[in-house]
Amino acid sequence: MGMKKNVDWVKLFRTMYSIRVFEKRCIKLYRQGQILGYFHPYLGEEAIAAGVCSVLEEGDYVVSTHRGHGHCIAHHGDLKRMLAELLGKASGYCGGRGGSMHIADFSRGNLGANGIVGGGLPLAVGAALGAKIRGEDRVAAVFFSDGAANNGVFCESLNLAAIWDLGVLFVLENNQYAVSSPIEAMTRNPELHMRGTAYGVDSARVDGNDVSAVLDAAARGVAACREGKGPVLIEAMTYRQTGHHVNDPGKYMPKEKVAHYRSRDPIDICAKYLIDLGNVTPEQVASIKSEVDAQVDEAVEFALGAPAPSPDEFIQCVGARA
């Protein structure tokens, strides 16, 4: 906990609050029929993306998941281009070809959200391996879920990163559900961080709703990775505030548990740090919030007015390929 004096609480809060407001606005747009396809909200998990990405440096990589808006916003994501992509517009990150599950920006080290659970894990290993071969100390942070931890590529990737001492920060976002299946029913030992230990990887479990705890663990993990002592695994305990996607009411989630985690809302926890440790007044918090609200409004306006991709251009582009 010794690193807090260096923390930019305003920036952290701004990131987390941006994710929250961005997604809430998007869910409205989704319900209005403006956003189509799948939309997996990150609501309730914001502290993990914000905490981890805040300790990354320029040149580091992030590998994300189908529940990836938070990671993208926390790692240099541009709200306008993100929203335009969710609306399938030409000015979106993928020109309307990717949508929510596939936003990537290689130019900023965002190696992409991923529609395949666990699919991103080996990509992070490869990014870190490339950096090692080139003699660079870049770190690859890969976000994945308790669901992905039950996929074979998790063990394989952990093992590969371990035998080659790669700078991979494995960030296991344990929101306790694989779609609708509770983790206790999907494994005999839900202490998932122990899987990292079993592979000889430094592993720890933290409160994923407490951005300070995430940040501390991530800072230690990233430092170890940069020194060539990686990989490191962090299991961040959290809970979704919604179902698996926008159209899933999440009836299988026990009310008491939902209420418990809502009472430990990561945004509220961060706001408290901001006031207590960041020397910011409640009035200043309110003004940060309205600034972010305005940015999201602006992004919505931009995206709604953005041009649609041209089917002719698309056909021309892919038709020219083998």
């Binding site: 130019s107 991923n114 990509l123 391996l129 490339g130 590529v153 590969l160 582009c317 083998a322």
Partner: protein, 336 residues
Amino acid sequence: MTQTAGRECTGVRTIKYRDALNEALREEMARDETVFLMGEGIAERGGSYRVTAGLLDEFGPWRVLDTPISEASFTGAGVGAAITGMRPIVEILFVDFALLAMDQIVNQAAKYRLFTCDAGRVPLVVRTQGGVGNCLAAQHSQSLEALFYHIPGLLVVTPSTPRDAKGLLKAAIRCDDPVIFIEHKRLYLSEGPVEDEDYVTEFGKGDVKRTGTDVTLIAWSNMVPRCLEATEVLAAEGIQAEVVDPRCLVPLDRELLLSSVAKTRNAVIVQEAVRRGGVASDIASIVQEELFETLDSPVKIVAGLNTPIPFNLELEKVCVPQEADIVEAVKGLLGS
């Protein structure tokens, strides 16, 4: 009657297919520091077919990496390295094992270029080998090129000679898109002429392996030498068969295939893979669509039986096209 040559302007040696591949790897690794190799038993051991022999000593342990038997993750690591500035070559010991990495090949490698509107490319080569050997049974004998051929975003290369193997592997390494490079286990020890000079064989350019006037045999990989053997039998009976090797299945040299068939007016496509859903069927559809009026006979396909490959050698033989099957098909087609 002559096999295509005509490129012997500089020195030419006769070397093995596996050594030609080794030369391609060595030359490209020396030329470009971002090229590196990953695979099972490829470093110290030099690979099951000795394709990577000597490279560990020359380029060191971070350019030639032995992996655990974890096809999904080391192939995925290849994708991750490729999208961050490297040119990885991932060796999958048998094409049958590529099935363990299909998510990474099909859902990841093949898709990124689309998602990123061409900004993010995947310069990955997956080197693997397929086809029947001798009694390797059902999980080590498959010809699976059609699986990859079916996936937009992947390039599929199937060299049949040492010369093509070297030039095409060099092209694959320099290519900015994922290439599935399928060698044939029966070809590793085959020999052929390879130029001394540095050369790269352009993708999408087929090669006429034998000129003829009566029928076009379209074949790739190990079916090319098999067709060439069959042409000798046919020639003895007065039939001059042309053998066209597309070399790359994606991109396919449609022009070359069509011009040959337009000339001979008869086409037999010879494929080691099972008949159902194969590349031969797709080529047949292209030929009949473009040349229906020109053809003297229906396009004929000689292909493997729709069965997993059995262990026993005689049973194995009946599963894949043999020289006699090709001869019989041609004679049946020409009514001779």
